[in-house]
């Protein structure tokens, strides 16, 4: 979230307090004291984790105390992990494999690269899964492990 603060003491604390009140977890704050916007305000970038439904309430609160919310960017799937699958990937329904991950709501297959050397030979695939957080990533990988076991695919995970 990009905020613009007045150039007076105490503004930063004033801006961060509502994020905390709305149960946001602040990850980083970059305070550009040496830069000013054309309106003479100080730009501040704040990264935080917060439940999606609380965002509009937070923006209203910030604006009500005179803080300008210049930009809100959402990064929903923050965790990313690669994996390799080996086996009869197409014949064991790759679409179903992807759908099962995507259906979780918290993880998605965002990249898939296949290599198929020949009919009746085992294929290899590299896939990248993104998930909303570390815990969700563990759930998604556990799901993929189970799918691989059921479909007799070898799953190679990062160390």
């Amino acid at each position: 979230m990009d905020l613009e603060l007045k150039d007076t003491p105490g503004q930063l604390v004033l801006a961060l307090q509502p994020i905390s009140d709305f149960e946001g977890n602040i990850v980083s704050v970059v305070h550009h004291r040496d830069k000013k916007t054309p309106r003479g305000m100080i730009p501040v970038q704040v990264a935080f984790e917060i439940s999606g439904e609380k965002v509009s309430g937070l923006i209203n609160k910030l604006e009500s105390i005179g803080i300008i919310v210049a930009r809100v960017g959402e990064e929903r799937l923050r965790e990313s992990r690669a994996g390799i699958l080996i086996g009869h990937i197409i014949h064991s329904d790759i679409r179903d494999t992807i759908d099962q991950i995507d259906a979780t709501g918290y993880a998605e297959v965002v990249d898939l690269t296949m290599s198929m050397p020949g009919i009746d030979q085992r294929s290899s695939a590299r896939l990248v899964i993104n998930a909303t957080g570390k815990v969700e990533m563990e759930y998604a990988v556990e799901l993929l492990r189970n799918i691989a076991r059921e479909k007799d695919l070898l799953l190679i995970e990062p160390i």
Binding site: A82, G83, I84, I86, G87, T113, S115, P117, R122, S123, S124, A125, R126, L154, I156, E157, P158, I159
Partner: protein, 338 residues
């Protein structure tokens, strides 16, 4: 000068290597440590050599190489391994028979007999440790003798002695690494040369890196045995070979290595022990990661509470390299004896 009598049980590749290294390093060990190593017994399946006045290690080595052990003047058919352990007055028994992960035999009986006869044991044999670790440790303690097995994991790499001597104040939280040189060689060749699995395996066999029957290595059993020994000795667990989840490298394709490489990874067979779970599986390892060593090398990372991550690498096989670890154990025990 302290005289230490040794017998070697199992005079194959490793046993012969120990004899050769004893011969080569005898004067050095006398000078450096004040210990005179005297080989007094050699036990094989079909007989053995017992000689209280000392056996010339090189003479025995040469006879073994030409399969003419029976021509040694002290050779007796009734002097098989177990009888050498019982009857030859050795301070330390070096047990180097082949690994058997099903029963641990004949190594297990050799070690138990040695303990009961109040002899210290040094071994490279993983089998007995992977099936009966607790029993072995307990029997050695009950008989007030020492039992060391540095050579059983990682060949020349000093892992148990490293933990025992240099990381005493640390709690070891987890261990992971490449513990089988054959698999590492095959995966490295597949990855760098684009060879098929079959081609890389046959090349490894020609070079003597892989056995004629490679299944014990390539199916991950060897790595699993070593993992069990590490888990039990270093993390204080009580596992056997059957507790390890194992996947070998036989299903790895060249295409998978290429796909991994395109994203900055390589594929390695990794043994990992963490929070009660023992697992051997091919894993994606970033190319610039300390565990991404090539060729037939072994590597191991210990995650510790004080020192952080400690990584060691070295040759995991070979008669002379393995004998380095065996002699280190022998000298360590010898130093404690009167």
């Amino acid at each position: 000068m302290k005289k230490i009598r040794l017998s070697i049980i199992g005079f194959g590749v490793i046993g012969c290597g120990v004899a050769k290294v004893i011969s080569k390093k005898r004067e050095y060990i006398k000078h450096r440590h004040g210990i005179n190593l005297e080989l007094v017994g050699i036990g094989e399946r079909n007989g053995g050599i017992a000689c209280e006045d000392g056996i010339d290690p090189i003479e025995a080595y040469n006879l073994a190489k030409t399969k003419e052990m029976g021509k040694h003047p002290c050779w007796k058919e009734e002097m098989s391994g177990i009888n050498v352990i019982k009857e030859v007055n050795a301070d330390i028994v070096v047990e180097t028979t082949p690994t058997n992960v099903d029963s641990g035999e004949p190594g297990l009986s050799h070690m138990m007999t040695a303990f009961k006869n109040k002899r210290h044991v040094v071994t490279s044999n993983k089998g007995p440790l992977a099936v009966a670790y607790k029993e072995l440790i307990k029997t050695a303690e009950e008989n007030d003798v020492q039992f060391r097995f540095e050579a059983s994991v990682g060949g020349a790499m000093p892992v148990f002695n490293l933990v025992r001597e240099c990381l005493q104040a640390n709690k070891i939280l987890s261990i992971k690494g490449i513990l089988n040189g054959t698999c590492n060689y095959i995966l490295t060749r597949m990855s760098t040369e684009g060879m098929s699995y079959e081609h890389a395996l046959s090349e490894a066999q020609e070079l003597g890196i892989a056995e004629t029957n490679p299944s014990y290595d390539v199916e991950g059993m060897d790595t699993a045995c070593k993992l069990v020994i590490l888990a039990n000795e270093i993390l204080g667990m009580d596992n056997t070979y059957k507790d390890v989840e194992i996947e070998g490298i036989t299903r790895i394709t060249i295409e998978s290595l290429k796909l991994a490489s395109d994203k900055g990874y390589t594929i390695k067979l990794i043994g990992e022990v963490e929070t009660e779970k023992l697992r051997v599986a091919p894993r994606l390892v970033p190319k610039d990661h300390p565990l991404a060593v090539g060729g037939a090398l072994n590597v191991m990372s210990l995650n510790t509470d004080l020192a952080g991550e400690i990584t060691i690498t070295g040759k995991g096989a070979g008669a002379i390299e393995t004998s380095s670890s065996i002699l280190s154990d022998v000298i360590n025990i010898a130093k404690t004896l009167r």
